[in-house]
Assembly symmetry: C2
Homo-oligomer: 423 residues x 2
């Protein structure tokens, strides 16, 4: 008898009619002979409402009390789903974070899951009950409620799947899977049947917002097979028979026939570019730039250092340094750098938010040379200027002008052979 | 250092502005040198919303899951009040029912409080923290959440006050105290400074809806001094300095100067009168009437048996039996009685919902004769017909026509010397 975890987001839990649809979907898995745990989010909008109350009560709210307040949203939906399951003849009970318990550290409002006790859960599943578990919550050692931070329900689902040895963890979302790229930009984008954890991490962190990144990292560490699939056939339609989604698995599981050099193309317009001109060309100069940013907890992404200006009568040699930071951190970055202008010794700080990062991702590039070269050639042929480049083992990213985002994604999608056959 | 419990209802918790007013009121008690526990209700309307979800999910909802859902309302307000207290410099923390814990039996959705562990609570209060405790909830032996039934937060407050040895339990409500009668009927009704537990029970059960009856019974049993006072000066005004309310205490605490024969006059229009005609006048006949009503869990209140019709040629002697039941149970009562017509042997069932029960209540009548007589005379002088009478040690009740309710209350209020001096 296989064990599976099913996770439903806030849109799927928004109101009793939708909760009933979820119950019907769960019943099908039970009738297929599975032992099922369901992890649920709060009703869409509810967590925002509760967070709003906390902020209104005090801008500097105590995160321990915040967790008491916001965890109530998932408590409500877990009880309601248990009732809806019982109403269609499926034995079910809710297990709150402190009841299982799901142990976490004491980082209130952004806790990390430690261990999950499974004795009671095992007994309940073996007795034929569906376990309904509120996502996003746990309990700290002292017995106080914790929450995992926004989007933490995906992580809860993967952690529960790992603890109970589930065959897979099905994440029902607003999208029906992971695509080769954003279908709003490329109508001929294809849904991927399989994708590796590493690729999913790269695709998620560069803009394909399907799963919380933390949950993918945990799934990789614990070897939990995750499936992303749609809870709706249309934006407001009740959940019908679900089409197969995308399986996120280890590289060894990817079927040979599925293997391609490039799995997907992501874009991210939330980067900002900063250039410091005439930084002295001497040891320690680059460290002087990035230390104040690290102190301000700002993640620097792409870094390029131009050819040095030659030393001469005008003084010692110097160089321009360009890098990107998250757009939301731009103002703080400028403050930090200007505050350190004396130590760094740059002439001018130039910034630009009208940039986009385009990434091609695929585990196949480990064994295929020429991926980066093909990317640069393709973009160059269309006159798209590359402002910065960064690479990892399974990803090549370039920074371009924001206005060229859609063009770049489309030509690359075609160039790497990702376009679906015309219907 | 005195310990007190403060309890705030849903109207006082309806929104952050009001929660801030509550926090300010709590701060005053802390600054007066008291150790304070606060028991809170859910935001006004929230419990109805959550109950509505449960009913929509299934008419026959599991009360264990219902308790998981509806207890979330008080969880939210307890966290928010703790945040609001901290924001004005008052150390505070929330203690959920399962955290203290507040042990209850396993009668989910209508649980009764057993014991309350006070070790953690004592430590917290002694450390100078305000303890914020959600009303209405507890935890059963197996570790599942329970709720006490609607209005249970008053009972929570009294139980917490008893457990922590509080000097008094202040219940902040929409009214500013207990009155000699309904001020909407008698503008010269007076607010009582003190009232005994027994009187409060009689006044509450016959219509003066201020406190949940169960909480008064518990206060009497545990000797908890309860004060009813207003959280508002006007229906929507923020809580200002609170006027003294009404203390509910043991009879021995009532000051001699306060003692009156009659404390208050209550009315209740929610009764229905049933008359069964020509019930055989023989042993066991009355038992045959009330057994089916008891089986249907219907509380019969006033009972009168008319003079028997004489036995003669028409058959054995017979009698008419009249009694009252709660108006909400009338239909079920008629069904039960008609179903037993064979055993009872009555001729006709006549019912009347246009009746009202008027009660005069006072511990003083124990030592004063003539209270009932004065009541009958006063009503008779105004031509008000009495349809039934019942008495207890501290109460005389009569059943009259509904249209005469206000007149009866006014003339009795004057006759027993309860009218306030004209201002």
């Amino acid at each position: 008898m296989a064990r599976i975890v099913m996770k439903f987001g806030g849109t799927s839990m928004a109101g009793i009619e939708r909760i009933r649809s979820v119950a019907a979907r769960v019943k099908r898995e039970v009738e297929a002979g599975n032992q099922v745990a369901v992890v649920v989010s709060a009703m869409a909008g509810e967590t925002d409402r509760l967070v709003g109350f906390c902020r209104e009560a005090s801008a500097l709210y105590d995160p321990r009390e915040y967790d008491v307040v916001v965890s109530a949203g998932e408590q409500v939906t877990s009880g309601l789903l248990a009732i809806a399951l019982q109403a269609i003849g499926v034995p079910a009970r809710s297990w709150l974070g402190w009841q299982l318990p799901i142990h976490t550290d004491e980082a209130f409002a952004k806790a990390r899951i430690g261990t999950i006790d499974t004795a009671a859960l095992d007994a309940s599943l073996s007795a034929g009950e569906v376990a309904v578990i509120p996502g996003f919550q746990g309990v700290a050692e002292g017995g106080r409620i914790t929450t995992l931070g926004r989007g933490g329900s995906d992580t809860s689902a993967v952690a529960v799947a790992a603890a109970m040895g589930a065959e897979r963890c099905d994440i029902y979302t607003d999208v029906d899977g992971v695509y080769t790229t954003d279908p709003r930009i490329v109508p001929r984008a294809r849904k991927l049947h399989q994708v590796t954890y590493e690729e999913m991490l790269e695709l998620a962190s560069v803009g394909a917002k399907v799963l919380q990144t933390r949950s993918v990292g945990l799934a990789m560490k614990e070897g939990v097979r995750v499936q992303v699939l749609s809870s709706f056939t249309g934006p407001d339609a009740p959940m019908a028979d679900t089409l197969p989604g995308t399986m996120i698995v280890g590289e060894e599981e990817i079927e040979a026939v599925e293997r391609q050099v490039i799995t997907g193309i992501a874009h991210d317009k939330n980067e900002a570019k900063i250039t410091l001109t005439r930084v002295p060309d001497k040891p320690g100069a680059v460290a002087a730039i990035f230390a104040p940013l690290a102190d301000a907890n700002i993640n620097v992404d792409m870094i390029i250092q131009n050819i040095a200006h030659q030393a001469g009568q005008a003084g010692p040699g110097s160089t321009d340094v360009t890098f990107t930071v998250p757009g939301a951190d731009l103002a703080r970055s400028i403050d930090a750098l200007n505050g350190a202008q004396g130590e760094i010794g740059f002439a001018e700080l130039v910034h630009d938010t009208r940039v986009a990062k385009i990434s091609v991702v695929g585990v196949g590039m480990r064994s295929h040379a020429g991926v980066a070269s093909q990317m640069f050639t393709t973009l160059g042929q269309r006159g798209i200027n590359i402002q910065a480049i960064s690479t990892s083992e399974i990803k090549v990213s370039v920074l371009i002008h924001e206005d060229e985002t859609e063009l770049a994604v489309r030509v690359l999608h075609t160039a790497y052979g990702l376009d679906a056959e015309a219907a």
